[in-house]
Symmetry: C2
Subunit: 213 residues, 2 copies
Amino acid sequence: MNKKFFEELKEKIMPFFDKSGSHAFDHSERVCNLSLKIAEGEDVDLDVLRAAALLHDIARRKQGKGEVVCHAEDGSEMAKTILMETKFPKDKIEKVCHAITVHRYSKGLKAESKEAEILQDADRLDALGAITIARIFDYGGRMDRIIYDPKIKPTGYHHNKESNTSFNHFYEKILEIKPETFNTKKAQEIAKERYDYVKGYVERFLKEWNGEL
Amino acid sequence: MNKKFFEELKEKIMPFFDKSGSHAFDHSERVCNLSLKIAEGEDVDLDVLRAAALLHDIARRKQGKGEVVCHAEDGSEMAKTILMETKFPKDKIEKVCHAITVHRYSKGLKAESKEAEILQDADRLDALGAITIARIFDYGGRMDRIIYDPKIKPTGYHHNKESNTSFNHFYEKILEIKPETFNTKKAQEIAKERYDYVKGYVERFLKEWNGEL
């Protein structure tokens, strides 16, 4: 499928996403770019990969509102309906759906195609790096969460403001995204570089807080 | 004045500050630490410096609520009242008040003492670095501002969500804090290192956004 097709697909699905926040459509665009980067030189179906990347979080807002339990499962169904209305090859739709269904690495579902492996990797890569730092504090602000308090120790990630600080999210989730756990070699390399950057940010933040820098 | 005095002063003034957000009390504590760091080896009155640093934003919340026009002017008055109720040396209070009155560098008021120069520097230093990055996105989230949109160009800083993106704040304000404009040599050095870090963050953010990293 050509560029025009995917531009039109974007227009079509945009209304399903939040306008701002950590899961606005820009996340899907970055995941799509990262997917294509990882796929370089690999034998994968780029139509499937692009469609899956753009659509993988289509039900995320519904999950946020409590309308569905798992945005991957429901998103897979939604993606099918949406793609059926387009000129996307019918025989490729199931591959797109599989990649979306298993994209949540934390759920432990197995990616049974190269495209699904790459989507998992790209989605996790977008949780590492400079933009992640922005997303964490942006989200914390929206939740009226405090930025950091040395007296509050990391525990586990909770979606309520009393539970913890924005900064602790680095320990609770981000720094647990170990580069060696990515599916593909290429993603492992990108992850390593991004992981080190985030780790450096965390260390620097603490030094500044303690007046050491 | 000993450590105990300043611990008690902190307890006394804490209720005047927001519990979270970019001007919660932790900002004042960092400004105090930075002030002491800049003052190392300088001939300054540390009592004056510490008191001024801890109290410099005491009227910030009132300004935020629209109760006063300038938190530096009103804060100076409040600081005087508060210190008069303590054992802080009466003959040093005016020096504290001067430093607070002129602490806002952007207002262009002249710092007429070393302590006032250092406070200006320390306050501006806390607007550069890893913690600043956190504060910018935290504030943006609170304002329901979007993180970044390449179509929206930097204009000027406005306190409403429609005006701009969190990311543009780096261009509109942070990267305008030039290291050579700091009063003291020591602060210039610290500023240079922090400025470069923030600049690197901004460049990296864009590279990630554009799929180049």
